[in-house]
Amino acid sequence: MADPEARKVIELGYGGNERLVMNMGPQHPSAHGVFRMILTLEGETIAALDSVIGYLHRCHEKLGETLTYAQYPSIASKTDYVAAMTSELAYVLAAEKIGKIEVPKRAQYLRVLVAELQRVASHCLWLGTWCLDIGGALGGGATVFLYCFREREMVLDLFESLTGARLLYGFHQVGGVRYDLPEGWAQRCRDTVDRIDQRLDEYESMLESNTAFLIRSQRVGVISRELAQEVGIAGPLLRGSGVDFDIRRDDPYSSYADFDFKIPVEEAGDCYARYRVRMQEFRESIKIVRQALDGLPEGPISSRPALKSVGQVRIPKGEAYARVEGPRGEVGCYLIADGSPKPYRMKWRGASFSNLSILPHIVPGHKVADVVAIMGSVDPVFGEVDR
């Protein structure tokens, strides 16, 4: 059946210095979604990487033009579905910026509260899947994965009792939020973050005393400060490369200026540095959650009347770029409004899209096994890459 000529090429490829082209994906367990890499190998060392994306493309930007300001926020959560709360927020912030719509203080605090809980849940998913990716090094690997999912589950339960949904929430709307905290929720939330806080120590002692884990992550996939900025990677990747930038502090939105938290920065730029940044972010997020619960003001949760029709929200002519610090970095929405109930144009800056485009620059020179570790440390969500 096989073409004998083609077979010869493959056999030659194993010989030594010849190059071999290897396909990885689109269905690959370490791809965290549907992603295809075409690797050119010299022996086991990667000489070049070509990425093929778009398998999850739904043309969100066209959808954004066809749906109204009232309809789209719940669809926006489907871009980065692992951090739906922050994706929705970027869109409503852009609309509020153009329309100069005030958001009540309580709604702003609720937005911060859910955004930080979302960061905890999203980082749990990242840590679990990444440790599964480099699983061999952790003696089976599924342990950390299952621990992390156990913790993420607790946050999802909180979201479920708040919004009725576990993954895609539709929590934000132009002018505020849609749901107020149910009875007893604040106490449950405190208990949950306390428990997660304790378990973080457990993960850290498990991982950081494991030599195999350190070998697989230290000095692997180093991103220089210069390259990081030029490619436009954001979030923990940028801060793992020594760039001290966080939108929550440097361009605050939704009352983040009221909160007291640190921005972790690591200089090394390798997978381990990115891991350290995220582990510290976990704790900072938990700190913010507690502060938000302590300082939660009384008052309305939305400055607009409840929606009776989908075309009810009209935004005057104008344009704005609004961004939030999602778990994966700068999630931005560039919106042009023309006075109708729908935007004229919406550009979605997906953090994962920019983050993933770093791969061809850092992967060459590494071994095939390292691709999996690097890819996991980038933490892409393909709903957001392909949009």
Binding site: G54, K62, Y321, E330
Partner: protein, 150 residues
């Protein structure tokens, strides 16, 4: 670099008005033939080394407009610049200045058909290579049929 200094530099070098909402500036109407020169100036003189995003807007009869945002993270100055394209939709590529422009320009080509001159590998990125048309143009209807299973 302060926003005021950036505004006067843009005025001096390009004769353009940089409107600002605080530290984030917008420059409209960069001549397309000076697009690369403008971003070289933004990167080297204004210190905007962080590449945020690049996209386009279809203004129907008035043609396509390319929008690009870069930022100086140390001083917190952002620069969003726009250039109107001629009907042939050609635009100089920024890949030589910002490596992040590679995928963004491919996406912009994919969705709007903007031809970035000097881009090393201008292929479709999100849609399949044999896709017909440019979906984010205003004349591309949402229900345009396409072959199944794509």
């Amino acid at each position: 670099m302060t926003p005021d200094r950036a505004i006067s530099l843009v005025q001096e070098r390009f004769g353009l008005q940089a409107a600002g909402e605080g530290r984030y500036l917008t420059v409209e109407g960069v001549p397309v033939e000076r697009w690369q020169e403008f971003f070289r100036f933004a990167k080297e003189t204004l210190g905007c080394r962080f590449f945020s995003f690049l996209t386009a807007v279809d203004w129907k009869e008035q043609g396509l407009e390319v929008v690009c945002r870069v930022e100086n993270l140390e001083d917190g100055v952002g620069m969003l610049a726009k250039a109107r394209l001629a009907p042939d939709a050609r635009c100089p590529s920024l890949t030589g200045l910002y490596r992040g422009a590679d995928w963004m320009e491919r996406e912009c080509y994919d969705m709007f058909g903007v031809r970035f001159e000097g881009h090393p590998d201008l292929r479709r990125i999100l849609l399949s290579q044999d896709w017909e048309g440019y979906p984010l143009r205003k004349d591309y209807a949402v229900d345009t049929p396409h072959p199944p299973y794509r």
